[in-house]
């Protein structure tokens, strides 16, 4: 842990988010509560993982923290300052990579630096540093369509790291790559995290991934998305897949979170409009002008 241990980086207070979804039967708009009373204090340099079933508002939460959507209630503060929109002090990494296909690896990594108006020579030095960090040296001039899924995700990570945001928001970043690549990527993220000491919020479906990576795992309940419990992961760092997976504590923690997710005393989610796809559509962040 860094010297800043204990200093609050992100304060999420009573976040609430509602979508309006058209009921298929009645054709009326219905309120769908994606996030309810979500409060969390995140210390600087902490790795937070968020797990929960589909539709528990995980991605919604990240969009709010990224400043891409405004919550219907509550507030977010980063370093004591209220979040009102997107900014380069947060980096978002998405499942679909979202690399600019017309930019080669280097130009993709330099995008945030261009927005920041960093001079060209300096940009090149910085992008090279992060391309090396994610192990893509030699691929600088390649275009995304010439790279594998794992490599594209590494470019996305380098792009988010390059403009040096203090907070990394990762939305199921490894969900689209194969199991082998996923493990490699996890180890790499652990290595990068140890090197850069960012504050990370990492959304995932995988309990194992959450336990492996995080300092604290936030377990959520669906509909409305609330915090069920925050589990501290006490496994020692540095961590690697090979060591962590065989340790006894790891198994206990995975089991503990599994039970939290499956505990029967949670009221079963009402079936209906809150299907995954619907939420994703409502989730779409676009300037109205583009659509």
């Amino acid at each position: 842990m860094s010297v800043n241990e204990g200093k609050e980086k992100i304060a999420l207070r009573n976040l609430r988010q509602i979508y309006y979804i058209r009921n298929q039967q009645t054709k009326r708009l219905e309120e769908f509560v994606a996030l309810e009373d979500f409060s969390l204090s995140i210390e600087e340099g902490t790795f937070i993982a968020i797990v929960g079933p589909s539709g528990c508002g995980k991605s919604t939460l990240l969009d709010i923290v990224a400043g891409l959507t405004r919550s219907k209630g509550g507030s977010i503060e980063i370093d004591g300052e209220k979040v009102t929109g997107p900014s380069l002090n947060r980096g978002l990494i998405m499942q679909g990579y979202a690399l600019f296909p017309w930019r080669n690896v280097r130009k993709n990594v330099e995008y945030g630096l261009e927005v920041k108006r960093v001079p060209k020579a300096e940009r090149k030095a910085i992008s090279q540093k992060y391309i090396d960090l994610v192990d893509l040296s030699g691929f600088e001039e390649r275009y995304p369509n010439e790279l594998s899924g794992g490599m594209r995700q590494r470019v996305a990570i380098a792009r988010a790291l390059a403009y040096d945001p203090q907070v990394l928001l990762m939305d199921e970043p490894f969900a689209a790559v194969d199991a082998q690549t996923r493990e490699t990527m996890q180890d790499e993220l652990l290595r990068i995290y140890a090197k850069t000491e960012k504050t990370i919020i990492f959304v995932t479906h995988s309990i194992e991934e959450a336990v492996l990576l995080a300092d604290r795992v936030v377990v959520m309940t669906p509909r409305p998305g609330r915090i069920r419990e925050v589990v501290d992961i006490t496994l020692p760092r540095p961590r690697f897949n090979a060591d962590v997976r065989v340790s006894a504590d790891y198994g206990v923690l995975v089991q503990r979170i599994w039970e939290l997710l499956h505990e029967p005393d949670v009221a079963p989610a009402p079936a209906g409009p809150g299907e995954d796809g619907v939420i994703d559509i409502a989730d779409e962040i676009l300037p109205s002008a583009v659509l």
Binding site: L68, L88, L286, P287, V290, L291
Partner: protein
Amino acid sequence: MAKKEIIKDPTAKKNIFLVVSRRVFFASASILAFLILWEVAARLKLVSVPAFFPPISKIFGALASEAEKGYLWKNLFISLRRSLLGFFIGLLVAIPLGLLVGWFKTFGDLLNPLLQVFRNLPTLALLPVFVMFFGIGEVSKVSVIVWGVLWYTLLNTISGVRSVDPQLVKAARSMGTGNLRLFGYVVLPAALPFIFTGVRISATVSILILIAAEMMGASTGIGYAMFFYQANFLIPEMFAYIIVMAVLGTGLNFILEHIEKISFRWRDDAGTT
């Protein structure tokens, strides 16, 4: 459009002569076969009115004499000037308008019905109207080309702007990209391949409309020349100008397709971003 080539044995040395001649053969075999068939059919007088069906050799002879007399170059120059002028003015109108209509949704929705009506009008039916407005000179011919060319580029530009991957917009937004930069750095490059396809179609269309316009009312140009020779039963000369048109259209398309291939090497229809 990154085609994956199947390499049988990458260590095998390629005979460059063989590779090139193979390519030339494939590019020209069907055309050559057609021309030979034509020549033979005409010489054997396999058609009912042989005068209307001169052998290819005679047509090329007529073409050579047109070139020698300088008529060909004069007509070609005038026609190219008309179509290029119409083509570029058309692009100058279509691309900015398309970007505006695509980007400002309300503006686009408001304008769309009118655009649909206009684009479904047969271009050549409007030629008399243009002649009425602009006279029988160059202006009416160029403006009808502008009109005909406009729609392909305009509609492609609009759909290019509107089909930008929302994930890319989200990624750019998350990095603090403002509206202006979003347009220049994300929307425009994403729309460029669409725009270029529209431009390529427009180029071919500009030639087609030019010919028709020249046939309907002109005293110069390759379309007029073809029409003139047809009216005077100088059939080899008529076919000679038809060949010129074919070469012009195919050549233009060939050049633009190559520019497209080189410029958009990042484009991969099979993969996602």
